[in-house]
Each structure stands twice: as structure tokens, then as C-alpha cells.
Amino acid sequence: MTENWAFVAIFALLSLSIPLIALGMSWALRPKRPGAIKQSTYECGLETVGETWVQFKVQYYLFALIFVLFDVETIFLYPWAVAYGKLGLFALGEMFVFLGILAVGLIYAWRKGALEWV
């Protein structure tokens, strides 16, 4: 029992020390010549504008919600596809019910104008 825990302790120490050593060595060995450009925030190669605390358009949020809907659908479709051979007609019917309910949700969002960027 305790021997097993010793392995965990050794691995914990090792995994802690490896990044520390790597970072520490590069810090000790690298040349240090800071400049204005080097210290600026890196963001896609463009210069940053304004502060980080800005208000986002609320529609991002709506899009994210709809995205999550279909993301979950995809996740649910994968195991279904894998197990389809064993489940047969039952699963086919089940999945169409699931997709049907999702479709109602999509049509709802569509008709309510959630997909239009204003």
C-alpha cells in the first residue's frame, strides 16, 4: 500500500521539477533585451485597441447558446452511430424523435430572428 503511494510521490516531484528546471534554465541562459514592441500584448499580430473590460454584443451569447445545442447533438450522435448496429430500428426511431425536437428548437430560434445579426 505505502509503496504504491511512494510512486505517486516520486512522479509528483518529477512532474513538478521538469517544467521548473526547463523554465528556470531558459530564464538563466537567455539574453535579456526588452523593448517596447517586445513588451506589447500579442494578439493575432494586430495592435490591441482599448481596454479588456468592454461590453460584448448580447447576440454572441445567443449564438453561443444555439451552438451548444448543436454541439450536444453531435456528441449524442457519435455513440448512437457506434451502437447503431446493435440497436437497430429502435435507435433509428429514437434518434428521429430527438432530432425532431431539436428541429423545433431551431425553427423556433429562426422564426424569432435569433439567427439574424443586427
Binding site: 440497436l87 437497430g88 429502435f90 425536437i101 423545433v104 425553427i107 423556433y108 422564426r111 424569432k112
Partner: protein, 516 residues
């Protein structure tokens, strides 16, 4: 192993009320999208769907399970399933349909012009009824968790439904934050139950905890089971608003649109108690196992009755007062569950007493809320002062609310009296004198705050004198609730039988697993 060749006819038959509600709710959403101009039909479609679900439930009620399953009883066929369609479920199916129907009827005039999202409102009412059905029949931890979560999400949305009203938003947000935390606690508890039994199915868990040597985790089970049950109790206790998980309810009740408040005071409570009974009685209902949670449940019942009734004394808003009043009523129901091992009294089993109590409470409370909905709509306020002089402005509403309050206090010829009598009788029969005494004493305290309103209605001076004309929907609901409150009070026997029959479906599952 998963049985993939079931009899589809049988399964779909027994899902009929739920299927009707799903199709109805989705259909209502679609109707709202494509049919413009015919405004005002949505509540009637809702009522039609609810009526169809009620008829389907009644049809299932009359069906003899043994015949349907060719000699095998419904219990045998569905015992291993995730959803049970037995007389216990049927009872709560009727409760959910009744709640949704009465709330819809009394809310039509109130919701008119209050929101731009009218069709969705009624669709959510149908979804709420569906979620309650799922909770009532849940026979699997996953269905329990999903059912509670489903009903919670619908309740949060309904509570914060009026976006222009800050109180509504605040109530919805508090409800949501509180609910998320208790949901997390409950899920944590459910994982422990799964962990010790290796299955999410209630009958399998029941089997496992009755034979501790077969548990997946044996050496910790004496500690884990009570801890897990307490965590689960936090989640269910939040839904039914028992102390100390009640803090959300006054704010949510006050902020929510009044018809939603009416729904919250009955719907989630009934469904929550259904889950609590199914889980605690069928799985952990043996004398040895129930010793781990009966004490906690009894203590919470006492705390809930005291806190609800005392805190209601100082409220100046009637919706807030009703929030504390319904917390106290949940305490009374909890007494019946805590006394479930007791002997039968006056023809009711203790659990039958709880169901009878819920039935009586449903009509009385929804009737009282119909009056509050009307006063809130016509005066624009739900503070106690809005009820001043109601006896002159609308004698019908005033006398009706007085009778509902008398029933909630538990005055003899009314339904509330027999509910309380059955529940406290069960407590006495199982030697829980303390709980019965606390219940009766706090019942006396409750008379004070109910009569404060009655006094204001009859002797207060109204701010303005005009007569109040309640909408036809409200009049219908108040009249129905009045009739039912009187009938259940005067002729309780048939309703006691319905409640007892519903509970028999609950108990054999516990009884047949292991000889008591």
C-alpha cells in the same frame, strides 16, 4: 441487459399522458410561430391538451394492469424500468394536470398584456406539467435528476418571466442561483448512491442496500448512505421549500407573476414529495434503513413548521405571506412521511394521509391564489393594504378567501382539517408526539396571520371604493376550489380511498423485496 424487443403498444399506452403533453407543448410553440393575429387562443389550447392528458390518465387508472400484461402485473413488467406507470404515478399525473389547468384558467386575464411572449408562457406551463409527471414516475436516479432539473429550469424561467419587472427578474435569479447549488448537492448525493450500489435503478439500489455484504463499497456504507440521503434531501427539500432550504421562496414568490406563484406553491411541492416518497420509502423504507434518515426528516419537519408559521406573522405582502404559509404546509406533509411506519388511522395509511393532504392543499391553495391573482390584477398590488375593504368591493372574493384560509388553518368542516387530522394522527400513531404537538401549536400561530388578512378585508378602509370584477376564469377556479374544499371536507372517504390506492402501488415494492 437492455431489452430491445418490448411491446411498443403497451409502452406507448402507458406514456400517453406524457406524450400528449410533449406534443401539445411543442405544438403550442409552433402554433405561436406560424399563426399570427388569432391572439388569445393559446390558453384554450393549453387547457385542451391538459384535458386530453387528464382523460388519458383516467383511462390508465381504469385499466386493469394484470390484463394488459397478459398475466404479469404492471409492477413486474415495469419494476426494472426507468419510469413507472402505476397508480402512484397516476395520482400525481392528475395533480400536475389539475395544477396546470387551474393556474392557466386563473391566469388568463392576469397575463394578458403583461408579456410579449404569451405562447411560450403557456407552453412552459405544459412543460412544467410534463416535468412533474416525469418526477412522479421516476424509478431511476437519472430520471429523478433530469425530472427535477427540468422542472427547476421551467420554474426559473416562469419566475423571471416579466422582464420589465425588476422584482420578477430578481426572484428568478435568486431561485436560479439557489437551485443550482442545491442541484449540485443533490447530484453529488446521487453519485454516492450509484457508487455503493453500482446501478442507477431504484429497485437494484434497494436490493443492494438490503444486503450490505453485496455492496460495491461495503466498509463505508453505514456512513455513506445517511450522508448521500441528506445531500439528496437538500435537492428535493429545495423543490418543496422545507427549512433550511427555503430561503429562495419568499423572494421568488413575491417577484414571480402571481399565476406562477400559484403554480410554484403547489406543483413543485407535489412532485418533490412524490420523488421523496418513491426514493425514501421504496428504497430506504425498511426499519433498519429508515433509522438513518427518519430523525433528520422529523427534525426538518418540526423546524419547517415553526419557521414557516412564525416568519409568516410579520409579512406585509400577501404573496410573501403565502410563501411562508406554503413552507409551513410542506412541514405538515413532511410529518406524514416521517410517520410512514405508523399504523392506519381513520382508514388512511400515513402515506395515504400525505397524498390526501396534498390533494386538499391543491384545491385550497390554488383557490386562495386565484383570489390573490384577481386582487393583484385589479388593484395592481399584492400588499396586505390592497385587500382592505375587499368585503365591500367584492363580497364573493372576500368570503371565498376567508373559507380558503379557514381550511389552511384546519377548521373542521373543511378539507384542510381532515388533511391535518390524518397527518398528525399518523404522527401520534407512530409515537411522534413531539411533531404532532409542534404541528398543532404552530397551526394555532398560523391562525394569527391568516386572520390579519381576513380582518383587513372586512374592517379595513379601502384606498378606493370601486367594485372589483374578477375575470370569468378566476370566478370558475374560485368556485371549483370552494366546492372541492367543502366536498373533500364533508365527504372525505372517496378521496381517502383514492389516496390509499395510490400508495398501495408504492409500498409493495418495498415490501416484496425483503420481508420486513
Amino acid at each position: 441487459m437492455l431489452d430491445l424487443s418490448p411491446d411498443w403498444g403497451v409502452i406507448l399506452t402507458h406514456f400517453a399522458p406524457e406524450l400528449i403533453l410533449v406534443i401539445g407543448a411543442l405544438g403550442l410553440l409552433s402554433y405561436d410561430l406560424y399563426v399570427r393575429g388569432k391572439d388569445g387562443l393559446q390558453p384554450w389550447i393549453t387547457l385542451g391538451v391538459l384535458l386530453a392528458a387528464a382523460l388519458a390518465t383516467g383511462w390508465l387508472y381504469t385499466m386493469d394492469p394484470a390484463e394488459v400484461f397478459e398475466g404479469r402485473s404492471a409492477g413486474e413488467v415495469f419494476r426494472s424500468g426507468a419510469f413507472l406507470s402505476d397508480s402512484f404515478t397516476h395520482f400525481f399525473r392528475l395533480m400536475s394536470v389539475l395544477t396546470a389547468g387551474l393556474v392557466t384558467l386563473s391566469g388568463i386575464a392576469y397575463m394578458r398584456g403583461k408579456t410579449a411572449f404569451k405562447g411560450e408562457f403557456y407552453a412552459f406551463v405544459l412543460f412544467a406539467a410534463l416535468a412533474m409527471n416525469l418526477m412522479a414516475g421516476a424509478n431511476d436516479l437519472i430520471v429523478i435528476a433530469l425530472g427535477i432539473e427540468f422542472l427547476s429550469l421551467v420554474s426559473y424561467i416562469l419566475t423571471g418571466y416579466i422582464r420589465e419587472d425588476r422584482l420578477s427578474i430578481e426572484g428568478g435569479l435568486k431561485y436560479f442561483l439557489y437551485g443550482s447549488i442545491t442541484s449540485a448537492a443533490m447530484l453529488f448525493g446521487l453519485t454516492y448512491l450509484y457508487g455503493i450500489a453500482g446501478s442507477t435503478s431504484l429497485p437494484v439500489i434497494a436490493e443492494a442496500v438490503r444486503q450490505p455484504e453485496n455492496l460495491v463499497v461495503t466498509h463505508l456504507s453505514t456512513f455513506i448512505v445517511p450522508a448521500a440521503l441528506f445531500l439528496v434531501l437538500a435537492g428535493i427539500g429545495f423543490k418543496v421549500a422545507i427549512a433550511p432550504f427555503h430561503q429562495w421562496s419568499p423572494d421568488a414568490y413575491q417577484g414571480a407573476p402571481t399565476p406562477v406563484t400559484a403554480f410554484l406553491s403547489v406543483g413543485p411541492k407535489a412532485a418533490g414529495f412524490a420523488v421523496m416518497m418513491r426514493l425514501f420509502i421504496t428504497v430506504f423504507g425498511t426499519p433498519e434503513l429508515s433509522a438513518t434518515w427518519l430523525g433528520v426528516l422529523g427534525a426538518l419537519a418540526g423546524l419547517t413548521m415553526i419557521l414557516g408559521n412564525v416568519a409568516a406573522l410579520t409579512q406585509s405582502d400577501v404573496k410573501r405571506m403565502m410563501a411562508y404559509s406554503s413552507i409551513a404546509q410542506a412541514g405538515y406533509m413532511l410529518v406524514g412521511i416521517a410517520a410512514f411506519g405508523g399504523t392506519a388511522l381513520m382508514g388512511t395509511t400515513p402515506l395515504g394521509a400525505v397524498l390526501f393532504f396534498i390533494l386538499a392543499y391543491l384545491f385550497t391553495n390554488l383557490g386562495a391564489f386565484a383570489v390573490i391573482i384577481a386582487v393583484d390584477r385589479l388593484t395592481g398590488s399584492s400588499s396586505v393594504s390592497a385587500f382592505a375593504g375587499l368585503s365591500k368591493r367584492s363580497p364573493f372574493l372576500a368570503i371565498a378567501l376567508t373559507i380558503f384560509f379557514l381550511s389552511l388553518i384546519g377548521i373542521p368542516p373543511l378539507s384542510g382539517f381532515f388533511g391535518k387530522f390524518a397527518v398528525f394522527g399518523a404522527a401520534v400513531a407512530s409515537d411522534m408526539f413531539g411533531l404532532a404537538v409542534v404541528g398543532v401549536l404552530t397551526g394555532v400561530v398560523s391562525a394569527v396571520y391568516y386572520f390579519q388578512i381576513v380582518k383587513t378585508m372586512y374592517f379595513g378602509d379601502p384606498a378606493e371604493g370601486g367594485a372589483l370584477r374578477p375575470s370569468p376564469g378566476v370566478v370558475f377556479v374560485v368556485a371549483t376550489a370552494l366546492v372541492m374544499t367543502l366536498i373533500i371536507g364533508l365527504v372525505p372517504q372517496p378521496f381517502i380511498e383514492i389516496a390509499n390506492q395510490a400508495v398501495t402501488a408504492l409500498e409493495p415494492i418495498a415490501g416484496s423485496m425483503v420481508a420486513r
